[in-house]
């Protein structure tokens, strides 16, 4: 392998994968980045930690093709400190690589690319286009309720499944106390037979990538991984084993009480009231009556708080308790001015939706207060 590449390009490539390159690991090769020529005008730079992998394609002048893996950290440190603009990289015998930039030269030892974990064959992936902004919203509205309980593995990711007859994508996450589900119709829908669970780490990395994404984005699923492509970058997320629970059972099909509230007003009131909620239980009491919602909390060590806000509600009065964090999380990811709160009785789950934008529902289990 022999090639020339602009130093800033390689530096950018290596910087992007620094977060993925493993620092301490039982598999030495994971500390390396794989550099592979792709045609005569580009190279790909990949890193993986077995859960997520990131591959980027960058312009380069390829003299002879090949592939090698080199220590991600060492190479980045070298490239960052180079004085010139162009770096030539030449592979020598026994996986040695020489780097030449002006009068600076390095020789570093690598490992054969065959030892690098296989990334999915991207040409086998059936991609579908996805609007980065829409996708990012979907992720934000589900990521917060992913379980952090490491013993319930099947809940530690976001469940993605096709909507009926592949007309769109649905994403669901739950930690057992709350659940969020969002669905979006799509012109060209995902090609998948059944749902898959994308682990939290992968989804957070995806969100980071989407924040910078300017152009088009594509998503696809292969056997064991999800693949996302944007701006010349490919992110692969290894899927989780196991069955996602049947979440439809816990979504209340109808509600007897529906209140419309101003989201911002409710959020601020919650933040104020929660200052005096019990440290451990984190509960606030919601009292719904005609035209008003009263929030109250009491902490035996500190005292009590109570606040009343306007609510569009007519009907029976209802008292119900919730963990204020769960409510705040939902209200934070929503962007609508008004939200709908659906309730039945003090022991049945509550549902929150944004007014005017269907497709997203957050379900929260109540607390006994």
């Amino acid at each position: 392998m022999e090639l020339k590449i602009a130093v800033p390009e390689l530096s950018k490539a290596l910087q992007r994968v620094q977060g993925i390159v493993e620092k301490k690991t039982t598999m030495p090769i994971l500390a390396n980045v794989a550099i592979e020529t792709s045609g005569k005008k580009a190279i790909s730079v990949s890193a993986t930690n077995l859960e997520i992998g990131l591959t980027g394609t960058y312009p380069a002048e390829v003299k002879s093709e090949g592939a090698i893996t080199l220590s991600g950290k060492a190479l980045y440190d070298i490239v960052r400190s180079l004085p010139g603009d162009t770096l030539s990289l030449t592979q020598e015998a026994n996986h040695w690589v020489s780097l030449q930039c002006g009068k600076v030269s390095y020789r570093i030892v690598g490992m054969p690319a065959e030892n690098f974990p296989s990334l999915p064959r991207f040409d086998e992936v059936e991609f579908f286009k996805i609007d980065p902004a829409v996708f990012r919203t979907m992720i934000e509205k589900t990521l917060y309720s992913v379980s952090t309980d490491e013993t319930r593995y099947n809940l530690t990711g976001v469940y993605c499944e096709p909507i009926d007859k592949n007309s769109g994508l649905r994403m669901v996450s739950t930690d057992g106390h709350r659940l969020s589900v969002i669905e979006t119709k799509m012109a060209k829908a995902p090609v998948m037979k059944k749902g898959v669970i994308v682990p939290r780490k992968g989804v957070s990395e995806l969100r980071r990538l989407l924040e910078d994404s300017k152009g088009e984005a594509k998503l696809g699923f292969v056997e064991n991984s999800a693949v996302f492509e944007t701006d010349g970058l490919t992110l692969t997320m290894q899927l989780l084993e196991g069955q996602f629970p049947d979440y439809n059972q816990v979504i209340p099909s109808n509600s007897s009480k529906k209140a419309v509230l101003d989201r911002k007003l409710l959020l601020d009131a919650l933040k104020r009231t929660s200052l005096l909620s019990p440290d451990k239980a984190q509960g606030v009491r919601l009292e719904l009556s005609n035209g008003a919602l009263a929030l109250s909390a009491n902490n035996p060590d500190l005292g009590e708080a109570r606040e009343e806000i306007e609510a569009e509600y007519q009907g029976e009065a209802l008292k119900i308790g919730f963990n204020f964090r769960y409510l705040i999380d939902v209200l934070t990811v929503l962007s609508e001015d008004k939200v709908e709160l659906h309730l039945n009785d003090p022991l049945s789950p509550g549902v929150i939706e944004g007014v005017g934008t269907p497709g997203y529902r957050a379900i929260i289990m109540p607390m006994r207060l």
Partner: protein, 346 residues
């Protein structure tokens, strides 16, 4: 190059069992390789893992073999296979966090499209919390997962862990088998190989790592201790204490030195009972013959018994004072009544 379970030196019973299970496609998902240290349990686990992960279909006639050539085999050999997880530590204990991380890794789908293998080396080092954390996975691992535990002390594993695993016994390798391995792989001269083999007590792992001159020196040291400490009025307490000091100058070596002393005494027992051909320390045969004659079987057995108690104490996981234990031994060898009674273990 073919890599197969039946190539495991001296473990034909285990190899037969595993090959049979592989051939019938009925390999249990949780295996416990149990046997003394250094007999090849971990090596066998890696070979089995390679066979499970090998991308080429095994030959029906040779179900226990991996091709050794495919990408997966190369990665396993270089410890770079993404679906082979090895839980090992230099510490005395394997803690729950490490076990949890390994379990979490098993719940991620395979990278190389096949199965996943988790090897837990010296599984008895897991503390009870760690073992309990493993139970659910041992019983019902995520899809296509094999767990292989190795242990030289399987009885100190929780019963709940043992009952969830299929135990595959690994036996000490015969001196003959070991000699062959040493001649073949280390190129030792036959006589030297035989001595190393006999002194390594059936553990090829230990024999292969052996630094031969160091081993012989260590053997000479313990033989010297044995020769110096004769019961009788001439034996002094001071001499016994000095010997104890010498034996414990390197705490890490103590167990190995006592093993050598045990082989040394065993040879005397053999000679005293007339089984000459079986002795291990052939290079010191004249000394041994003389000792066996002058001491007689009763005295040699008395010494061996004192030593066995000491070895058992040293092998305990608790931190006992090694110098104190060894002083007791040396005093016993010198025929001195000890100040405190060595507790009777059985």
């Amino acid at each position: 190059m073919r890599v197969a379970i039946d190539q495991l030196a001296g473990q034909s019973a285990a190899a037969e069992h595993l090959s049979g299970a592989l051939g019938a496609d009925r390999l249990h998902h949780a295996l416990l390789f149990a046997g003394p240290d250094g007999v090849g349990k971990f090596h066998a686990a890696r070979v089995l893992a390679q066979r499970i992960l090998c991308q080429r279909a095994p030959l029906p006639k040779d179900p226990g073999a991996a091709c050794g050539e495919c990408n997966a085999c190369i990665k396993v050999a270089g410890s770079n296979h993404a679906d082979l997880h090895v839980l090992d530590t230099e510490d005395r204990m394997l803690k729950i966090d490490a076990v949890r991380d390994a379990i979490a890794a098993l719940h991620v789908r395979t990278v190389e499209r096949g199965a996943k293998v988790l090897i837990i080396r010296d599984a008895d080092r897991m503390n009870p919390n760690a073992q309990n954390a493993l139970l659910k996975t041992l019983e019902e691992p995520p899809g296509h997962t094999h767990l292989i535990l190795t242990s030289s002390r399987p009885r100190s594993l929780l019963l709940t862990v043992r009952s969830r695993c299929q135990e595959i016994p690994f036996r000490p390798v015969s001196t003959q088998g070991m000699t062959e391995i040493l001649v073949r792989t280390k190129g030792l001269p036959e006589l030297e190989a035989r001595l190393v083999a006999a002194l390594s007590q059936g553990a090829p792992g230990r024999a292969l790592e052996t630094d031969v001159p160091a081993l012989i020196e260590a053997r000479n040291q313990v033989a010297d201790v044995d020769l110096r400490l004769e019961p009788g009025p001439a034996a002094s307490v001071a001499e016994a204490l000095k010997c104890a000091q010498q034996l414990t100058d390197d705490n890490k070596q103590l167990a190995a030195r006592l093993d050598l002393l045990s082989v040394w005494l065993r040879d005397q027992i053999l000679l005293a009972s007339g089984a000459q051909s079986e002795i291990a320390n052939t290079d010191r045969e004249p000394d041994l013959v003389k000792l066996a004659e002058t001491r007689g079987l009763t005295e040699v057995l008395r010494r061996a018994r004192a030593l066995e108690i000491t070895r058992a104490l040293v092998a305990l996981p608790q931190n006992l004072n090694n110098l104190l234990i060894t002083e007791q031994l040396c005093l016993a060898l010198a025929g001195q009544p000890s100040s405190t009674q060595i507790p009777r273990l059985v």
